[in-house]
Every structure is written in structure tokens, then in C-alpha cells.
């Protein structure tokens, strides 16, 4: 009874708010400046490509402390666990984490583990905004930008400002940041420091070790820019990152069952000087050079006898000097030209011999923006890469936007993307004696096989020796067609995509030794496609209340499997009745770790007169399948979804159930210089230790944000 009374007493207030704000401003048409899609500053509404921008305000509202927490809530982005369950990767338009380039201020983040980048390495505290370009962007960014680009733009303030944030969450997770902007005359200085520590979490209590072991990391960034003379500016950005891990986990790999422990270190630093010269109002030149180094040290010992289990010092470097020039010939024509050189090296015990493996790339790109009329906007571009391993690669792109009227605009783009074979696929030299197999990168394969042949150790070669060739780059052709409709309080964005990927690199069985050990390597064998659409609807109900919902429909399939289904060559066996049946095209679901349906619903409400904001976000993922070789998570092996023995995911298989995550946050602006946030992520406490080890249970948090701005 009492509850009801309270509810009724709120009703007039809610109604009042609704009516009061019917005449609220049209906030949906605010245009933003984005840089990632064209490498030049352009307004978001004038870009003929699918671009999303996540603002600092949105990130603030989420109360997130790491990049992963922010991306997890975006539609069309799927966070998938890496093989072995160590960390997460990001899946864009249904493509694996390897195919999305992650940049900070336009420069790539390196240090991927089996293809995916650990998103928890990046602090959310220094993010001014995140720009996501969906669809291939190799015409500007070269390799790895096959599914798209995620560019994290860090804070830069032109006023003197001191900011601080502190967040405490369950599991003893502490995240603290401090940022300082100091500007004087022609100098601009930005310093940012973040410290993050967590006890990790454990979803399987009965197994030795935790699902995620405790770790602590520090991020320090300094940015300087100095303008001199009239049109010259130099800038410098430097970052240092250090993480310490206290690992303890249970390895079950084949017949091995080993408890291991030990410390791990990740050290990552970069330096990025650049120089910009405005020759005229219409032409500028930018010279920049980016160097980054990523180093990890792993030292694992067995718990039982304290003997060494695994030791590795992994070091990757990336150097890229680049020159870029933008020329505006008229209001209708805009040219961007650039060229550069990349040197990448890797050194790890896993690639044998202990010496640096190196590859170099030379590249040049050209981009043309053409605005023939106020309704049309045409963007075209081309990039050429020459690499020491995969040789040459052309990446063209063309995109156009047509503004039908003030409400509706249409866009279409076609582009190609590529991903160079990574160091693992080229140089891996890995032997697992206990499980009885070896894996060689293609550059290491021939010498290894030759050696075994000479020693008469090969029982059978599955592919001829001469057919063991170098890898080509993986390639894609992609279409994106979209429409945006904005009418007063409603905004609808639609994007339809299709990616055709060829020359996908897969492991391939190469030989069998006399000891019955299999030898694997890599080959450009697979073809696949992903297609679907993304629909986003935002309704500004009142000035203080808005609702946003997004939906993605996705199909990702192996073309060879489809071809075999067409020929009637794919079957399944019922595990109970042992009956065999033929798989139809409609039975085939597709590639693992992809939900056909996913989406989210977000609600933002500002309580007037209380300076309080409430947000609720529901993130939904439909059922999906798991691959056959998913490894084990803390000793519990992940079962393949395949229950009818045909190695593909079809409707007869055990799919992982769909689920929803509910995140809720309340923010109160206590004064103009500080606010406080309370919230809980995964309020419904949904966990799935085996299939989704990266889903943490319910996490309540408290966060305070301080901001002091010097009045001029």
C-alpha cells in the first residue's frame, strides 16, 4: 500500500516533466567533428561512411574505467573471449578481433595475443571520444583495418584544468586518474596518470587459481604542443604503461594437468612527435613519426615441484614515420596525400633462435573528396602497400552520400581491406611434446620439414614439399549501404553491410611423423562472408528523458561449407539415436562466437531540480555457437557446440544460450566542480564460467569525478 502511495506521488512529477519538455531542443542534430574516416577533420554528418562517435559525456555516464567496458555497450561490437580464455577481443561486423585496427590518437596499439588486443590495457579515463569506422579502411590505414578502425582520441584541453577521478568497485578494484592541462602562450601541456588495480575474479571456485588473476597497472601520458611563427606547430605525445600480474591457474591440455603460478609483466611505451606546417590557408603538411614498444615477461612455475613451466620474453616494436598533406583546391575539391614506412620487429622464445624477426612496409595513399553539389558528397581513395613478406597490396575505396532533404540522407560505400599474415603465422616454432604436435609458421616450415625428412622422421606428407609456400594477405571486399533519418525528436540510422573475405589463413595439417605426431602450419585456404544490418533508433522523449535502442542482425558463414552443403556432402549424426541425416542450407548457422541477433536498449533520465541523472542499459546477445577447439578455461574444457560430429555449427548443435546484461548508474552533480556516481554493472548477475569466462558477475561501484577549471 505504502509503495503505491509513493508511486502515485511521483506520477504528477513525471507527467509534469513530460509536458514541460515537449518543446525541448532538438539535440539529435548536433554535429560532431570526426577525424578517423578521412584522416582530416570533417563533420560526422558529411561522411559517406558508417562512423560512430562515442563522446566523453557518454563514457562518463557509463562510469567505465577500462576501454572494454565502454565498447561492450555498443551495438555491432561483440566482445569475444580469446582462445584459452585469456582476455577479450573485439568483433566488428562479425569479423574476428584480428581484423580491427585499434588506434590511439591515430596511431596503432601493438601487442596482440593470438590476434586480439587486450582491451583492458587501455584506460577509459583519458578518452575524449572514441570514433568507430565500420567497414574496411585499408585505403587509409593499410593492414588490419579490414573490419574497421577504432580510434581512441585522448583529452586535450585549451584551458587550464585539473581533473581527477576515483572509482572503487567490488573485488577490490580501484581506478584512479589525475589529469592536468596547462596552457601558456604558445605552449600546451597535458599530463595524465592512471592507476588501476584489481583482485581479479573467480568463477570456478573448485579449481586452483582464479578465472582472472590479480593485476595492477599504471598509465602515464604527456602531450605537448607548441605553435611558433605563424603557421607552424610541433607536438609530442609520449606514453608509458606498466602492468604487473600475479598469475595462478590450472592448465589442462590434453593429458597435462598442471597447476602453475608466477608473475607477469607488461610494459608498453610509445613516443609520437609530429610537426604541422600550414603553407597556405588551403594546404598543410604534417610530418609524424610514431615509435612503440610492447614487452611482456612471463615466468610460470609448476606449483608441485617449483620447476619452470613456461618462460618467455616477448618484445614487439613498431616504427612508422609518415608524411601527409591536405590540399583544398576549392570548396568542392579536397585532396589528401600521404606516404610512409613501417618497420616491425618481434622477438620471442616461441619463434625459435631468439633473434629479431622483422618486416618492412612502404606505402602511399591518396584520397579525394568531391562535393559537386550541396546534395552530393563523393569520397574516393587508394592505398598501395609494399611489404617484405606479402609483397604488394592495392586497397581502393569509393563512397558517396546523397542528402535527399533536410531529414533524410543516404550513403553507400565499397572498399577493400587486407590483413597481412602476422608474425605467429610466419615464424611460430612451437612443439607440444606432451600433446604430440608441432606448429610452424610458414617461413619456419620448410627448414623444419627438410630437417625431419633428412632424419627420416616423416611418415607421411599431406601436402607436397614444393606446395609449402609463403602466405598471402587475407583480403576482403565490402559494401556498406546506409540511411539516416532525423526528424525533430527521432533519429534512425540504418546500415546494411556485406563483407566477402578470401584467402583466410587457417591452420593446416602438413605432416605426420614416425612418432605419430602431427605437424601443423598455416595456409590461405578459407573463404567466408559476413552480412547483416545494424539499426539504431533514438527518441528524445523530453529534454530530460531519452531512449535509444539498437539491433544487429548478423550472418557469418564459411563459403566452402555452404558449397559442400549445396553438393549434399554435409551430414550430421544424432548423438542419441546415432541416425545420420543430411544438413540443409537453412540448418547451417555459421561461424562460432557470433550471435545472429544482438542489441541494446539504453535509457537516460535527468531528474530536474535534483541534478541527478539515471541511466539503465540492457545489453542483449542472442544464442551463439562455440568452435571445436576452444581450449580450456582454468582447467575446465570448453565443449564445442558441435554435437552432431560434423565440425560445423548447425541447428542441431548445443548453442550457448542468449543472455542479457543490465547495467544501472546514477550520477549526482554535487557542484560545478564535482559529481558522484553510484552504479552496478551486470545487476542481474549473469555468469557462464565455461562458455563466457570474461563475463564478471554483478559489480557495484562508486565513482567521484573532480574538475577544476581556471577562469581566465
Amino acid at each position: 500500500m505504502k509503495k503505491k502511495t509513493i508511486a502515485y506521488s511521483f506520477l504528477p512529477l513525471i507527467l509534469f516533466c513530460l509536458f514541460n519538455n515537449l518543446f525541448g531542443q532538438d539535440s539529435l542534430r548536433l554535429d560532431e567533428i570526426v577525424i578517423t574516416a578521412t584522416k582530416t577533420e570533417r563533420s560526422l554528418s558529411k561522411i559517406p561512411l558508417p562512423v560512430t562517435s562515442i563522446s566523453a559525456k557518454e563514457i562518463h555516464a557509463l562510469g567505465s574505467s577500462r576501454l572494454q567496458d565502454v565498447l561492450l555497450e555498443q551495438v555491432g561490437i561483440n566482445i569475444v573471449p580469446q582462445i584459452n580464455g585469456l582476455g577479450n577481443g573485439l568483433q566488428l561486423q562479425g569479423l574476428n578481433p584480428d581484423y580491427t585496427l585499434i588506434l590511439i590518437d591515430g596511431e596503432p596499439v601493438v601487442g596482440r595475443y593470438t590476434g586480439s588486443l587486450e582491451l583492458n590495457r587501455i584506460t577509459a579515463g583519458e578518452i575524449k571520444k572514441i570514433e568507430i569506422v565500420k567497414g574496411p579502411s585499408s585505403s587509409l590505414y593499410g593492414s588490419d583495418a579490414l573490419a574497421g578502425v577504432v580510434n581512441i582520441i585522448t583529452h586535450k584541453s585549451l584551458t587550464n584544468k585539473l581533473t581527477a577521478q576515483i572509482k572503487y568497485a567490488e573485488r577490490n578494484t580501484l581506478d584512479a586518474s589525475v589529469g592536468l592541462s596547462y596552457n601558456k602562450a604558445n605552449f600546451s601541456n597535458q599530463i595524465f596518470y592512471n592507476r588501476f588495480s584489481t583482485d581479479g575474479y573467480d568463477l570456478s571456485k573448485n579449481i586452483y587459481g582464479q578465472t582472472v588473476s590479480p593485476y595492477q597497472n599504471n598509465t602515464l601520458r604527456y602531450k605537448l604542443s607548441y605553435s611558433f611563427l605563424k603557421n607552424h606547430e610541433i607536438s609530442l605525445s609520449a606514453k608509458y604503461f606498466l602492468e604487473n600480474q600475479n598469475n595462478a591457474y590450472h592448465v589442462i591440455n590434453g593429458l597435462d594437468s598442471i597447476k602453475v603460478f608466477g608473475d607477469g609483466v607488461i610494459r608498453d611505451w610509445s613516443v609520437f612527435p609530429s610537426y604541422q606546417y600550414k603553407l597556405t590557408n588551403k594546404t598543410n603538411i604534417i610530418l609524424r613519426s610514431y615509435y612503440t614498444e610492447y614487452y611482456t615477461k612471463t615466468n610460470l612455475k609448476e606449483l608441485d615441484n617449483k620447476s619452470d613451466y613456461y618462460n618467455d620474453n616477448f618484445k614487439q616494436t613498431f616504427l612508422r614515420p609518415e608524411i601527409q598533406s591536405t590540399c583544398t583546391f576549392s570548396k568542392k575539391q579536397n585532396w589528401t596525400l600521404g606516404s610512409g614506412w613501417i618497420r616491425e620487429t618481434i622477438n620471442t622464445n616461441r619463434y625459435g633462435s631468439g633473434e629479431d624477426k622483422q618486416q618492412e612496409t612502404y606505402y602511399g595513399f591518396i584520397q579525394h573528396e568531391w562535393i559537386p553539389s550541396s546534395k552530393w558528397n563523393v569520397l574516393s581513395g587508394m592505398r598501395f602497400d609494399y611489404n617484405s613478406i606479402y609483397h604488394k597490396q592495392w586497397s581502393p575505396k569509393i563512397a558517396a552520400q546523397y542528402t535527399v532533404n533536410s531529414l533524410l540522407s543516404l550513403r553507400a560505400s565499397f572498399g577493400t581491406g587486407f590483413k597481412a599474415p602476422d608474425f605467429r603465422q610466419l615464424y611460430l616454432n612451437f612443439n607440444n611434446a606432451a600433446a604430440g604436435y608441432s606448429v610452424f609458421g610458414t617461413e619456419a616450415l620448410k627448414p623444419a620439414i627438410e630437417d625431419l625428412l633428412n632424419k627420416n622422421q616423416i611418415r607421411e606428407l599431406f601436402i607436397p614439399f614444393d606446395a609449402m609456400t609463403s602466405l598471402r594477405a587475407e583480403r576482403s571486399n565490402a559494401w556498406n549501404i546506409g540511411a539516416s533519418l532525423i526528424k525533430s525528436k527521432h533519429a534512425i540510422h540504418l546500415n546494411i553491410f556485406r563483407n566477402d573475405i578470401s584467402d583466410l589463413i587457417e591452420t593446416q595439417t602438413v605432416a605426420l611423423t614416425n612418432q605419430q605426431n602431427f605437424i601443423y602450419s598455416y595456409s590461405n585456404i578459407k573463404r567466408a562472408f559476413t552480412q547483416g544490418f545494424e539499426l539504431n533508433y533514438k527518441y528524445q522523449i523530453t529534454k530530460d528523458l531519452d531512449i535509444q535502442s539498437s539491433y544487429q542482425f548478423l550472418q557469418a558463414k564459411d563459403k566452402d561449407v555452404l558449397e559442400n552443403i549445396d553438393k549434399g556432402l554435409v551430414f550430421g549424426r544424432d548423438p542419441v539415436t546415432l541416425q545420420t541425416y543430411r544438413i540443409k542450407k537453412s540448418d547451417y548457422i555459421g561461424l562460432p562466437h557470433r550471435s545472429t541477433h544482438s542489441g541494446n536498449i539504453k535509457l537516460n533520465y535527468r531528474i530536474p531540480y535534483l541534478d541527478c541523472k539515471i541511466n539503465a542499459r540492457l545489453i542483449l546477445k542472442g544464442p551463439f555457437g562455440l568452435a571445436g577447439t576452444n581450449g580450456s578455461v582454468n582447467g575446465t574444457s570448453i565443449n564445442s557446440s558441435d554435437s552432431n560430429s560434423n565440425s560445423i555449427i548447425d541447428k542441431y548443435d548445443r548453442l550457448v544460450k542468449g543472455y542479457g546484461l543490465l547495467n544501472i548508474g546514477i550520477q549526482r552533480d554535487c557542484s560545478h566542480w564535482w559529481d558522484i556516481q553510484l552504479g552496478a554493472d551486470n545487476l542481474l548477475n549473469y555468469t557462464d564460467p565455461i562458455n563466457q569466462p570474461t563475463l564478471i558477475g554483478r559489480t557495484a561501484y562508486i565513482k567521484m569525478n573532480f574538475k577544476f577549471i581556471q577562469n581566465k
Partner: protein, 206 residues
């Protein structure tokens, strides 16, 4: 169609409920026989030092289709057997494996759809250890779970030592045909399979 499927299913259930030692005299020349858990040199465990199987005898289990019987290992050098099983290796009585003239090949397609052996099919014999008539296509091995599963849609077509034909479908490699075999709990090297033996010498299975 649905009724037909139900019928198939029921007849299948009936068949698998038959004990293999049962010796029904059927009036028709064709019947589907299901053999359950034929031991093919099972192990007693694994050597903890190198992971190699222990307790196995390295001997094949020989089988004759005409009367569904296991042939003694001492008869390995005779033509009394048609097919032999050891671990995941399947041999036929010919070439390097035995003195007989048996031959086989693997046909892709549903077992029930194979109503007549195509005239252009090529029967192979056991040429060498790495070139056996049956080969490896009958199973799929998952290196991570270490599970062998008979690949669905593979039918072994065998020309027996007596010159007659049989078609075989392998159903399970684990004792008791568990729904989701566990490499560490379930016993491997136990074949469950069904077959049709055409005693009239024709290539038809209808």
C-alpha cells in the same frame, strides 16, 4: 515422409535392441545388423610420463560379415575374415593386411541412400600402412578434446573375402556409445557400427 522416418526410427530401435549374438534366420537376404561395442584393442590407460597408451596388445580384432562373427586372431593369415579393427585403424583382408581378396572404399552419402554400388566405384586394397583401403576419412579427430567421432555421411563399402558385398556405417568409437564422449572417462576403441550384407552376390542393397 514423416511416417517413413518414424518407421525407420522404430526399425532402428528394434535393431539396436538385438543382441549381436542373436542368430535370426531371416527369410529375406538383406537385413541391417548392428554390432555394439566391438573391442578393437582397448587400452588400460596412459603412461603418465609420455602419454602413450598402455595395456594394448597391438592386435587387430577380425570380423566376418556373413555370419556377424569375430574371427580368432590366430586366423589372421586366413581368408576367414573380411575386416579388422585396431584403435582407429581399419584394415581389409588383402594386400599387406591379409591373404584374401577383400577390398573397400569410402562413399560419401547417407547409409540408407546407398541402394546399389555404383558401377564406376573403385575398390581399393591395403597397399601400405599409410595407404589403406579405408584410410582416415571415416573419423574426425578433435585435438583439443582428444575425441574421435565417426564422420557422419561416410559409408564403408566392402567387397568381402567371399566376393560378396557389404555396406557399413560406423556409429561410435566409445564403449556404450555415450552421447558426449569424454576422452578421460569413456573407454575408446570400442566400435559400434551397423551394416547390410548382400548374400546373393549382387551389388544391390534393396
Amino acid at each position: 515422409m514423416k511416417i517413413f522416418n518414424v518407421f525407420l526410427f522404430l526399425s532402428f530401435l528394434f535393431l539396436i535392441s538385438c543382441d549381436k549374438t542373436e542368430n535370426n534366420v531371416d527369410t529375406s537376404t538383406l537385413r541391417t545388423v548392428t554390432i555394439k561395442d566391438l573391442a578393437a584393442d582397448p587400452t588400460t590407460g596412459f603412461d603418465p610420463n609420455n602419454g602413450m597408451p598402455i595395456g594394448d596388445t597391438k592386435r587387430f580384432t577380425f570380423f566376418r560379415f556373413s555370419d556377424s562373427s569375430i574371427v580368432a586372431n590366430t586366423d589372421s593369415a586366413t581368408t576367414k575374415w573380411d575386416i579388422g579393427f585396431r584403435a582407429s585403424t581399419i584394415i581389409v583382408n588383402s594386400g599387406i593386411s591379409g591373404p584374401g581378396s577383400a577390398a573397400a572404399y569410402v562413399q560419401t552419402g547417407l547409409f540408407s541412400e546407398l541402394k546399389e554400388i555404383p558401377t564406376d566405384s573403385i575398390f581399393k586394397t591395403d597397399v601400405s600402412a599409410s595407404n589403406l583401403a579405408v584410410g582416415k576419412s571415416w573419423y574426425t579427430y578433435n585435438g583439443q578434446t582428444m575425441i574421435f567421432s565417426p564422420t557422419p555421411g561416410k559409408t564403408l563399402v566392402v567387397k568381402c573375402s567371399d566376393g560378396k558385398y557389404a555396406k557399413i556405417e560406423l556409429l561410435s568409437y566409445y564403449k556404450g556409445s555415450p552421447v558426449a564422449p569424454d576422452a578421460f572417462k569413456d573407454q575408446a576403441r570400442y566400435y559400434t557400427f551397423r551394416y547390410v550384407y548382400q548374400s546373393n552376390g549382387s551389388k544391390k542393397f534393396e
